[in-house]
């Protein structure tokens, strides 16, 4: 096995674990599958710590939902994983405010790492408005 082979084989293994690609030949497929599932569980735990309201919006089903969402998406870190997932959902309540809070605090184009915003920003989140001025985030909820 040359180093080029090792590189290619490592890439194949990572693809099987993170991108839904087939398990490379010769590996114990059920064991690799167990590792894949454990990895998704670990990622779900990290995202739920970084995005507690997003996770709570799924109740007990978050790990399962996240695993489905992440099955063919290699991690880009728990901040971005949760952010990407949240943007695809129609969030309400606390989860929507959590996302809006991140959106007004950091500039994130979905491609490069999020960066802190230097200028004020405002987002609506369900029944609330979230604004950031000089790095401070405020949530203004409509009176019921």
């Amino acid at each position: 096995m040359s180093e080029r082979d090792l590189a290619a084989r490592q890439a194949e293994l990572v693809a099987a674990l993170t991108s839904g690609k087939p398990v490379p030949q010769g590996f114990d497929a059920p064991r690799v599958e167990a590792a894949r599932v454990a990895l998704l569980r670990k990622r779900a735990g990290e995202v739920s710590r970084q995005w507690p309201m997003l996770a709570a919006s799924f109740g007990a089903g978050f790990k399962r939902e996240f695993a489905r969402w992440a099955a063919a998406r290699p991690t880009r870190g728990s901040l971005r994983d949760g952010w990407d997932m949240a943007r695809e959902l129609r969030l309400t309540g606390a989860a929507a405010e959590e996302l809006a809070g991140r959106e007004v605090s950091m500039r994130y184009d979905g491609a490069a790492a999020p960066r802190p915003r230097r200028s004020p920003a405002i987002r609506s989140a369900g029944g609330a408005v979230v604004l950031q001025i000089a790095g401070r985030v405020r949530v203004i909820r409509r009176a019921r």
Binding site: M1, L6, Q10, V14, A15, D28, A35, A38
Partner: protein
Amino acid sequence: MAETYGVGIGWRPEIAGFVAGLPGLRFAEVVAESVHAHGELPPGLGDLIERGVTVVPHGVRLSLGGAEPVDPQRVRHLAEVAERVRAPLVSEHIAFVRAGGVEAGHLLPLPRSREAVDAVVANVRRTQAELAVPLALEPIAALFDWPDDELSEADFLTEILDRTGAGLLLDVANVYANARNRGTDPLELLDELPLDRVAYVHVAGGAEHDGLYHDTHSHATPQPVLDLVGELCRRHRPPALMLERDGDYPPAAELRAELDAIAHAAGYPEVTAA
């Protein structure tokens, strides 16, 4: 580590208060990637260092076992964090965490082949060239092996250590997990490893799931792992052993009892009492 430190713990922000309240603590580990090289230290960690607790940065994302060369920026960060916390050594894993530009999100095993040994040795040497302190290498827990292993685990590890001069960070929970999942005897590995090269030891809990033992760090340390600590110390007692806990943190009394159990198994003084 030449000095004897006894029982330590993996410092995490969630248990910073608990760790600060351990009167006999002399040794802790911090995840290197969680520390800024130049900015402020995480709250509580600085106090620990000022108090004289030895803090060792533990890297998790260098990918020393990757076929491609280690990222010089990541190596520089590890070296700078070591200096920042005045560490006598740093540690990393014999594993790879990314390939083909894709992050695995976890430590993955290497084939136990000569080619993989060469790849690790090259990356360890690149890393050592930038470090002002010694490096210790940790063999990982893996749920699967590569199909084309040429070397026994002990030969694979010993050759890497011999060729790099690195120390061994022995994780007894990983030894236990691998032996249990492979159906082998963990004592055989202990008998074959160069235990005089052990810089320090990890101890952690795990859980069985669908017939496989997972090294979760979020369950209590099981008795067989504590027994293995005893077996290790009977053969060659390492200068330091530490508990790794990474989530589902139990009440302080349970964590204290776990630290005391490690101390008893190793024959070191309890760190939970002054």
